[in-house]
Symmetry: C2
Subunit: 465 residues, 2 copies
C-alpha cells in the first residue's frame, strides 16, 4: 500500500452535501468522506480511502489469528450445493442464500459461511489426533441476499469476513480452542480502539449450544444491549501485546486463555433477545448497570460434531479408535467493522479514527502561497514518506484553507500538520483529531509527537508458531 | 502473515503419490506440495503454503501498480446485469458468464471483468479534465464458467486477478497510460524472476484495437509462441527498482515509459494466432529465432470510448466542451501466476521458487537427536523469526531425515539450513534450492548469505505519489 498520496492526484470524491440515501451516521460519513459508493442494491465499491481502512482492520485481525496458532487459507466464494445437502443445511438459510446454477446445470451457491467447505477439506487431509488441535481461517467475501439491504456496508449483501474453524479431539479441547478464539477477539477489537463485549447469544443456523456475540457499544447500534460496566474497563493486552500478567502469550497457553475468558464472561452482559431484567437488577449494582445499544462485530460458536459427523471428518485416536472431531466456528465482520468503528468514534465534523486503523497517520495541509513555502511542504512530505509515515498530503493550489481543514476533519486522519501559514519560522500547526486540540510548535517537536504515537501502534512483535 | 511456522503444527498436507487428476506439472506439484486442494469442479481451496505464495505475488503486483500512480479500490464480485446491457456486452460472454437471479428476481452476474462497473463509478465521481489521468485498479476474485476447467488453478473457474483501468482526456494521453501499464507489467514479472514477453494480441470481448498479451515462456505452456531472443535479455529495472538509466521513476515519466515500451515491442513476438512465419524469417536472424510455448499472465487493452460513450463517462474539457474519456484496461492473473511460476521453474524433485515469491526464505531442518541439539535448533528458529526472516522449521521428531529433505525440495524453499547432523561444531549445512548446491560452513556465514539474498528482494523503496 502506498505510504503517501497527494490529494491533487488521489481518487477521493468527497461529498459536500448530506447523501439522502443514508440513515445511519457511518453510512453518511463513509459516503461523504469518499470511502464507498454503491454499485447496486446492497453492493458497494470500496474507494481508495475506504479500502485502506478495511485493509488495516484485516491486518490486525490476521495478526491476532496467527498469534493463537491459526493458519490462513482461502476457500472459494462459490460452493457446491451438494455439500450443504449432506450437512442438512441447504434449506436452513432460505432466501438469504444466493443460489446459482452453472452451465452444466449443477447447483452452486455463493457461500454465506464455510462450515461445510472446511469440514470437507479437513476430512480429506487430516486423519490423526496427532495433527490436532487444528485451527484454520480465511478472509473472504460472503453473500447474504438480505431482503432489505441497508445502513451501507453495515448490512450489505456482499461483505468481507474472517471466519475461522477449530478441530479438536474432544469437547474439552474444543472448548479450549473456543476460549482461545474468544480471547483473540477481545485483543483484536482492543487493538482497534474498540470495546467489544462478549454476550451469550443464540446460535441460529450455525448450530451448537455454546455461542457468544461480540458487541461494540454505540448509541446508534442496531440492537439494545445490557451489561455490567466493569466489563468496559477490562484490558486484554498492553501496547506490546503482552497479557495482563506481562506474558507474551503465543496462543498455546490454555490457562491464560481460560483466565481471560472467565474474566470476560463472568459479569452480566446480554443482548435484547437474551436479556433478563430481573437478573440484571439482582446481579449488577445500579451504578454499574449499562443499558445502551450495540453492533455485533464478531460471533463464536462451538457445535461439537454437528458437521464432522455427517461430513465424516474423523481422526484416529490415541487408543486406536476413530472419533468425529469437535468443531467450532468464529466470525469477524471486517467490512462491517469499518462502519462500526465510525459509529463508535465520530463528531459533528466527521470521522475520528483510532491510530491503528486510520487510513493515514498524518494529514499534511499546505497553505503555502509562494514557491519557497511550496518546496518546504514538498520536502516535508517526502521526508515523512521516506520515514514510513503514512501521509495524505493536501498539495492543492486552487482550494481554500477552510475547505482543506474541513476535509481533513471529515476523513478523520489522527494528526494534521499545517505548513506555510503564518506560523513562526520552522514551526507548524499540529492538530490531534481526537480532541481537536491545536498547537503551534517547532516542526521537530511535532514530528516527535507523531512518531511517539506510531511507536505504540507498531510495537507488536512478528508472529510465529 | 506469520514470519515462521513449525512443521509439526503447520497445515501442510503433502502427497507422496502423484495425483491422478493432474496433467500439467504445476497442478501436480501444487497438489503434492500441499498448496491447493480442489473444492469442486474448477474451484480450489488455497492451503496455507499456496496462499502465502499468492499473497507474495499480490504484494509485488500492488507495488508496481502503486508506482505508476494507480490507486487501489475494490469492486464487488457480484454485478448488476443492467450495466452490461447498457454497454451491449451482456450476451458477448455467452455461457462463460455466471448468471444469477436474486430473491427479487433481479438479474445479477459474477463479474468476469469490470469495465462496466468501473466506468459507472468514474462517471458518478469525476467530471473534469483536471482530475485526469486517473488510474484505478482492484484485486478481486473473478468467475468464468469454463466448459471444461483444467490444469488446476491455471484454468480454474474462480480466479484471482488484478484489473486496472485508465481514464484520459484523449487518445494520446490514453496511450501514455497504456504504455505506463505495459512497463509496470514488465517490471512486475521481472521482480518475480519471470521473463514475460509482450506480444500483439487479439482483443476478444474486451474490444478496442490495441492490445498486448504478456506471455511467460515455459515448455509446458498452453500455446505456441515465437519471438526474437533479444527480448529475453532485456532488463527493466535494477535491484533498487531504478530503470535502465538509473532513474527512480515514479510513474509520471511518460518519456521513460515510451522508451521502455518501444524497446519491449520493437522486436518480433507473436502468439500462434498472430504468427506470420514469413515475417519471422525475414525480420529475425536464424540464431535469434525462439520458437517455444507460453502461458498468458497479463493482457493490456486500449479501447478509447467503447465503454465511456454508452455509459456516459465524460469530462469537461479545458476548452469548455465535454468528451467521453479515453479508456484502457489491464489484467494480471494472480492465481494463475502461482502456477506459471512453477511451470517455468521446477526440477525433478519439486518447485524451485524465486526468492521474491517463495512462501518462506529458509527451510530449517532439524536432525537433532539429543536435547541440546534440539535447543540449539529452537534458538536458531527463534532468532531467524525475530530477525524477520520467514522460516519453515521442520521440528518433527518422528520423521526420517530423508523424508524431511525430500519435502523441503518439493516445496522449493530457496535456502535450506540443516542443523544437528554430523556437522562440525557451530557449522551447518546450507543448500541453495536453485542449483541444489550444498556446503558445510559456520552458521554465521550461512546466515550472511541468506541475509544478502533477502536484501536484494527487499531493496525497493516505499511507494508514494
Amino acid at each position: 500500500m502506498k505510504i503517501g498520496v497527494r490529494r491533487s492526484r488521489y481518487f477521493l470524491p468527497t461529498l459536500r452535501e448530506e447523501p439522502a440515501e443514508a440513515s445511519v451516521v457511518s453510512h453518511r460519513l463513509m459516503l461523504r468522506a469518499g470511502m464507498i459508493r454503491q454499485a447496486s442494491a446492497g453492493l458497494y465499491n470500496w474507494l481508495p480511502l475506504g479500502f485502506r481502512v478495511m485493509k488495516k482492520i484485516e491486518v490486525i485481525v490476521r495478526a491476532e489469528q496467527d498469534r493463537i496458532g491459526a493458519h490462513e487459507c482461502l476457500m472459494p466464494t462459490i460452493q457446491s450445493a451438494e455439500l450443504w445437502k449432506k450437512s442438512g443445511r441447504y434449506d436452513d438459510y432460505g432466501k438469504e442464500m444466493l443460489r446459482i446454477t452453472d452451465r452444466h446445470d449443477a447447483p452452486l451457491l455463493y457461500g454465506p459461511t464455510n462450515e461445510e467447505a472446511i469440514t470437507q477439506l479437513f476430512a480429506e487431509t487430516t486423519k490423526s489426533y496427532k495433527d490436532l488441535p487444528c485451527r484454520l481461517y480465511h478472509i473472504q467475501w460472503k453473500f447474504r441476499d438480505e431482503i432489505r439491504p441497508r445502513f451501507g456496508v453495515m448490512r450489505a449483501r456482499e461483505f468481507y469476513m474472517k471466519d475461522a474453524y477449530s478441530f479438536d479431539a474432544d469437547e474439552e479441547q474444543g472448548m479450549a480452542s473456543y476460549r482461545a478464539m474468544a480471547v483473540s477477539y477481545l485483543r483484536t477489537f482492543e487493538r482497534m480502539g474498540m470495546t467489544a463485549v462478549p454476550m451469550r447469544a443464540e446460535t441460529g443456523p450455525i448450530g451448537g449450544n455454546n455461542s457468544h456475540e461480540f458487541v461494540v457499544l454505540a448509541d446508534t447500534g442496531e440492537s439494545a444491549v445490557y451489561c455490567d460496566s466493569t466489563l468496559l474497563e477490562q484490558k486484554w493486552q498492553d501496547d506490546k501485546g503482552n497479557d495482563a500478567k506481562g506474558n507474551d502469550d503465543k496462543g498455546n497457553d490454555a490457562k491464560a486463555h481460560a483466565d481471560a475468558f472467565a474474566r470476560a464472561t463472568s459479569c452480566y452482559a446480554a443482548t435484547d433477545e437474551e436479556h433478563d431484567a430481573e437478573r440484571f437488577a439482582a446481579e449488577v449494582p445500579a451504578a454499574r448497570r449499562v443499558s445502551t445499544r450495540g453492533i455485533e462485530v464478531g460471533h463464536v460458536f462451538f457445535f461439537a460434531d454437528k458437521y464432522s459427523r455427517p461430513l465424516e471428518a474423523s481422526v484416529a485416536t490415541r487408543q486406536g479408535g476413530s472419533v468425529p472431531v469437535a468443531m467450532g466456528s468464529y466470525g469477524v465482520g471486517i467490512s462491517r467493522l469499518v462502519a462500526a468503528a465510525i459509529e463508535s468514534s465520530h463528531d459533528a465534523n466527521g470521522i475520528v479514527w483510532h491510530d491503528s486503523i486510520a487510513p493515514f497517520s498524518v494529514g499534511l495541509v499546505s497553505l503555502a502561497l509562494d514557491e519557497k513555502g511550496r518546496q518546504e511542504a514538498e520536502a516535508l512530505y517526502e521526508g515523512l514518506c521516506r520515514e514510513g509515515i503514512e501521509t495524505l498530503y493536501d498539495d492543492r493550489l486552487d482550494v481554500r484553507a477552510g475547505v482543506k481543514f474541513a476535509e481533513m476533519d471529515l476523513v478523520g486522519v489522527p494528526w494534521q500538520i499545517v505548513v506555510g501559514d503564518k506560523n513562526p519560522k520552522d514551526s507548524v500547526e499540529l492538530k490531534r483529531r481526537d480532541g481537536n486540540k491545536k498547537q503551534t510548535l517547532p516542526l521537530e517537536n511535532a514530528l516527535a509527537k507523531v512518531r511517539e504515537s506510531l511507536k505504540l501502534t507498531r510495537a507488536h512483535d512478528p508472529v510465529f508458531d
